[in-house]
Amino acid sequence: MTGIQRVSAGRRLKDRLIRSLVYLSFVVAVIPLIAVLWMVIRNGLARFDVEFLTHSMRNIGARDVGGGAYHAILGTLEQVLLASAISIPIGLLTAIYLVEYGQGTRLSRMISFFVDVMTGIPSVVAGLFVLAFWILVLGMPFSGFAGALALSILMMPTVVRSTEEMLKLVPNDLREASYALGVPKWRTIVKVVLPTSLSGIVTGVMLAIARVAGETAPLLLTVFFTDSINRNPFTGPQMGLPLYVFDQASRPTDSAVDRAWAGALALILIVMLLNLAARLIGRWRSSARKR
């Protein structure tokens, strides 16, 4: 007998079961994440005021009320900017080499392998390396730049990997179409391949920046602590916002812990603003194309 057969009860049950599990996993994931955000916002707002954003911690003890994270915010912005300036060009070029030029050569296999290995480098090891190489061997001072070096080591492989994935997703048809028009390879890459994968690359770079902006351990070993404003990232100890949070949190007074939460809030805001800006740029680019 023919006719439309119903899906067997067992298969349907399994489908439902998995569906519930998937929904449940989302709930399970969101609970701690929302809890973290909520705590940061609730506890952070107590001290998230003008003084906090415009003052340093100079001459302010753990017990004192007041004080701010201006020096740490400034430091973090400079350090992340420097790290991005170092690692984004290197990362993009390396990804381009791997996908467009290296293809199967021994060198590209080796680079690809070590990029994977580098992806797994713990942040504290990157900090130790800069400590060993830059500060102990070369005798350079603790500075924001040393921190940026450590952060850029963490950023590079992330930028390479995400860019590489995005470049690989660009259909070969498009490269061939461009070659068939007599366009040289490098122009094909710059004008066809990169624009096609741009939003994906921006997202990947954003994730990389977001990751390093919150890193504490490498800064601990390279920029050292300071309570004062140091605008120059190339000499002398600088503060970083994550380090500030860590520092304040380890002081056992309510006013210090309040500052820690406010610092955490500021850090999250910075990261989210970066993220939002990148998305807007990506969206603006793609809608400009459609007009």
Binding site: V7, R11, D15, L21, V22, L24, S25, F26, V28, P32, L33, V36, L37, T94, Y97, Y101, Q103, V115, V117, M118, G120, I121, P122, S123, V125, A126, L128, L131, A132, F133, L136, V137, I153, M156, R161, E165, K168, L169, V170, N172, R175, E176, P184, K185, W186, L207, A213, G214, T216, A217, L220, P242, V245, A249, A260, A264, I268, V271, M272, N275
Partner: protein, 325 residues
């Protein structure tokens, strides 16, 4: 017949037009190759300089670096990595075990279950959460989680204590499992973000092919989505494991910094290489710094081995090689 086109300069010919771009091509190729080589040099430099700075301390070590269960490089100059390495591995693996199923579930939820309109927002939320700094998770772990888990831990210990994992005489909030929980929460967004991206990249036609065979939603995912996404999910897990092992500040706050080797994950013990570096760097003598750098070298090697293993798994399944050119 056979008009030599080269003479007409306004027309393209076989030789002329690329002259202008020949420089750009080789410059671009060289710059990208150099960037790749630079990455190799950095990797080599990391190994070399860590070894150089670790050697003096290792020579001065009065204990056995591999087996000694204490860490006193500043005082008695006797220190060993065993307990730290053990704690690093166990906490990270435990965290991965806890995070992976949830992360894959969340990734599937966003990519294949949530309503299309909501999916974008949820994806954005997870993206933002991937950016929450580890020091914040650490704060949350200490302020909220450490007190909160004591009850459930006691329950586990009383009723499942016959399993060695949950055994032990005392139960504490500052324990291996708490650290693993915080680590799991911390690595969840990154695993989810990467997995979700891969799941979303599954060609529509693959899924439609499965649906056309009469597959249910789950069967479609099993047939079309998961196999396609597997290499991506593995690399996501790899990223997560690497992050968990190298995670420093959060576990430095939670671990009670003991030097035992024990699988009793509810008892007040636990430490990791990274946590030990963060806790010990402040008051380290030159020998102490060297010892910490030596431990960092070990962490470097362990993550290297883990990544190589993961890399082998991925390489075996690397069937989608995008650009052939």
């Amino acid at each position: 017949m056979a008009t030599p086109l080269r003479i007409r300069t306004d027309e393209p010919s076989l030789r002329s037009p690329s002259r202008r771009h020949g420089g750009g091509e080789s410059l671009f190729r060289r710059a990208s190759t150099a960037a790749g080589v630079l990455l190799l040099l950095i990797m080599a430099a990391i190994a070399v300089f860590l070894v150089v700075e670790a050697l003096p301390a290792l020579r001065a070590n009065r204990g056995n670096f591999l087996t000694t269960l204490t860490w006193e490089p500043n005082g008695s100059q006797s220190f060993g990595i065993a307990a730290l390495a053990f704690g690093t591995l166990v906490s990270a693996l435990l965290a991965l075990l806890l995070a992976m199923p949830v992360a894959i579930g969340v990734a599937l939820f966003i990519s294949h279950y949530a309503p299309r309109r909501l999916a974008g927002v949820l994806g954005y939320v997870i993206d933002l959460l991937a950016a929450v700094p580890s020091v914040v998770y650490g704060l949350w772990g200490v302020v909220f989680l450490v007190p909160a888990v004591q009850g459930p831990f006691r329950f586990l210990n009383e009723h499942l204590g016959f399993i060695p994992l949950f055994g032990g005489d005392t139960v504490a909030g500052r324990s291996m499992l708490t650290a693993a929980l915080v680590l799991a929460v911390m690595i969840l967004p990154i695993i989810t973000a990467v997995s979700r991206e891969v799941f979303l990249q599954v060609p529509r036609t693959h899924e439609e092919a499965a649906l056309a065979l009469g597959a249910t939603h789950w069967e479609t995912i099993r047939i079309a989505v998961l196999p396609f996404g597997r290499p991506g999910v593995i690399s996501a897990a790899m990223l997560g494991l690497g992050r968990a092992m190298g995670e420093t500040i959060a576990v430095a706050l939670i671990f009670p910094a003991t030097f035992d080797i024990s699988l009793r994950i509810l008892t007040p013990q636990g430490n990791s290489i990274a946590a030990n570096i963060a806790n010990g760097f402040g008051e380290a003598t030159p020998i102490g710094r060297g010892a910490l750098i030596a431990s960092g070298l070990v962490l470097f090697v362990i993550t290297l081995l883990v990544n190589m293993g993961a890399r082998l798994i991925v390489a075996r399944r690397r069937e989608y090689s995008g650009a052939a050119a």
